[in-house]
Symmetry: C2
Subunit: 448 residues, 2 copies
């Protein structure tokens, strides 16, 4: 791959550019209001966690067409020279309001609003959805493992089976903000300071003549941080061998910190291995497990009391395997001061610029949200905040650890049934205010 | 996102680097042989299509650590200065053999083999899996829509709900090579010449005072290529309005080429709209449909005789939604001239350097494959070919259109039951040769 594809304004759909050409021809540069929202919860889910705003703002601030991109567009014959010239000078000059990353949200609630000249707001649709959906998807999936693990260490192991480079990298970020302890993905450590964890691969064991030689070699090379993979041939036999080695190395001040199980019945192996390690005087050595894990498997292992201290959760989390996409959209809600909505079957939207107000009970649990127009009075806490004006961030983005703390605090606001893995009998009510309902009816009376 | 994440050697798992440090400490630089394979077919699938080799070769040829990456690694305190110095000079110097992109393959068959000094072959594991799995996943999913569509036009519409930038871009490539006519993703057109298709969005209609004004505006701006989206308010009413407009514009030499349906019962709307267009004398105007499509829905629409000329297939294809990952691996099969295998429960591998031989019947249909060691005699067609020596490609990569033609030819070699969407009663037999079985037994006799 050549560099910088994530920044290219050509990472968009062709129709954005052909519509822009038409808007340009018709001088349709009035402000347009688009909002991003999820239409409905994936089956079995109780809430979602907003994530990805940081990357959207980076994208908007850096938006520009490179000379070779303009040349290529010109060569397609689809666009006028005047339009290409205009693109050359195009920068994102609009406004963004959004829910802070880490906010709990529900269907129909906008988590991001863009106000910009119509062609500009249109151009950025494809990449905004691409960025916002994916991190929201992963954060919303990963947080379920966080709830199921009941405080045990969780590490993102899934870069290799993520969908490409950016998915691998951003899923490390999204799972960390959701409450994972860290990731195996090195670049996420360099880029955002995500704490890094690692063990060893089967190939390391296989490349040595026998397991004990491999374990000793690794411990001497990484005396500060080492986790031995013990399932390459026979898990319990490897644990037995490790006891002798650990005592031998301890005399030199080298401690083997943990073992990893990666196949078979993880709970059963963990019990046997714990017994072997304890009998060998290695009560401090921790047990880490991985292999096809997700929130359901974690809950089973935790409920069964498996003596596992930490989990590597990979593929199913990074790809949100049970629901690898959302029914989500970025829709035009207002143009040139007039509210708009589409009425396509099953896909109608609420028109106008909106705010989401959240209401809490006496102990700080969410009792409901109200969706209303931006100029309507609301009570409770307004969830969308101004984050960008004139194409510039209003403030530096929060540190990733602050987002992670926000998620933890937001989880405390969830009614207990919504924190469970099963669908809650009653969801949080999202009420559409009378003012917004009246606006939708007024828009519908407009002839087309 | 900063540029170039897909090229960074730090887009890897931490354990690759800590294992490398140990290999470096122990001077374990002998040749290692790793092979990538899929362990089993996703439920309901009959075959897979190899894809992504091109990007793997790009990655290997470009592999190097940037000074800021080395500084950062150094600052973690996990690595020795001598190791960091060695990394600074590291280039990929190994060999790659692989099935050409577009080859049909089955479980346990290696589609790529890397032979390189152990630390180097280890380092590239994470990104090789990340690249090979994803395009193979998308190509293997997309080809099912190609089979179901029976020649109708298919366009990739799914960049926005792909998992990040690279997934959006590479899924355009993978679906095109699988037989799609093209993509909406502009950057895929610039990068690989993937043909681009586009229509218009609901926002375009909504931004105008009424639909006819919007249609006319678009047709005048894009007289050569225009498809009108007609489901924003009322599909059949829009089709009626379009008839008058089309005749009016025809007098000026502007032809409206097609309409798009995007909601409701697509087959039913298509029949009604076809009747309206035909009654209005617009027999040449084509009907294009989109919205939550996959191979099963395509087959239903085709079987029902819906008058739809082309389909936009998005999210479910780009994310391979029913199976968003493979059970796949890149495993050490030989080190320093000795065959190796892991025996972890449910994850045992076949040791050594292997070749896949394919056998055909008299009419060119596959009757079975044989998996054997590289030095064993084989009959039939050998599927893995040398593609890289000393870290350099042996030949320029085939053009994407050549890969696309290969897929079409490969589909012709599939026994009829394997071309259906349902699981075939009998799969293609993959036989493990006696020589390979004997090698596995010999490796198992080795003590650990």
């Amino acid at each position: 791959m050549r560099p910088n594809e994530g920044r290219s304004p050509l990472l968009t759909d062709l129709y954005q550019l052909t519509m822009m050409q038409a808007y340009f021809d018709g001088r349709m540069f009035e402000p347009a209001v688009f909002e991003f929202f999820v239409r409905k919860l994936p089956e079995g889910r109780n809430f979602l966690i907003a994530a990805g705003l940081e990357q959207v703002l980076d994208f908007l601030e850096g938006l520009r067409f490179a000379p070779e991109e303009l040349d290529w567009l010109s060569g397609t014959g689809r666009f006028s020279p005047a339009f290409i010239e205009w693109l050359a000078k195009l920068r994102f000059t609009g406004e963004v309001d959004a829910m802070p990353e880490g906010t709990v949200f529900f269907p129909d609630e906008p988590i991001l609003r863009v106000v910009a000249p119509l062609p500009l707001a249109q151009l950025v649709e494809s990449r905004i959805i691409n960025l916002l959906q994916f991190q929201t998807l992963v954060a919303s999936k990963a947080v379920r493992s966080v709830l199921a693990a009941e405080g045990r260490l969780l590490v993102d192991f899934g870069m290799r089976r993520s969908h490409g480079a950016e998915a691998g990298l951003l899923s490390a970020r999204a799972s960390y903000l959701a409450g994972f302890a860290g990731s195996a993905t090195v670049l996420a450590g360099m880029r955002w300071g995500v704490p890094l964890y690692g063990t060893m691969a089967h190939s390391f064991i296989q490349a040595h003549d026998n397991e004990v030689v491999a374990f000793e070699h690794f411990a001497r090379s990484q005396p500060q941080a080492n986790t031995m993979l013990i399932d390459t041939y026979d898990t319990e036999a490897a644990a037995e061998k490790l006891v002798g080695l650990a005592h031998r190395l301890a005399k030199e001040g080298i401690e083997i910190q943990a073992v990893r199980l990666d196949s078979g019945d993880l709970g059963e192996h963990a019990r046997k291995v714990r017994a072997i390690l304890d009998a060998g005087g290695l009560q401090r050595m921790r047990i880490f497990a991985s292999g096809n894990l997700d929130e359901y498997r974690l809950r089973e292992l935790v409920a069964a009391g498996a003596p596992i201290d930490g989990f590597g959760v990979g593929t199913r989390m990074n790809t949100s395997a049970d629901h690898p996409y959302f029914d989500c959209a970025y829709k035009l809600q207002e143009y040139a001061g007039e509210a708009r909505r589409k009425r396509s079957e099953g896909k109608a939207t609420w028109p106008g610029r909106k705010q989401v107000w959240r209401h809490y009970d006496d102990v700080g649990r969410i009792v409901g949200d109200t969706l209303t127009t931006l100029d309507d009075d609301g009570i409770g806490t307004a969830l969308l905040e101004p984050v960008m004006r004139d194409g510039r961030r209003l403030a530096p983005s929060p540190a990733l650890d602050a987002v992670r703390e926000r998620v933890a605090a937001q989880l405390d606001t969830l009614p207990e049934p919504l924190r469970r893995l099963e669908p809650a009998a009653a969801s949080v009510p999202v009420t559409v205010s009378p003012v917004l309902q009246a606006l939708a009816e007024a828009v519908d009376r407009h002839p087309h």
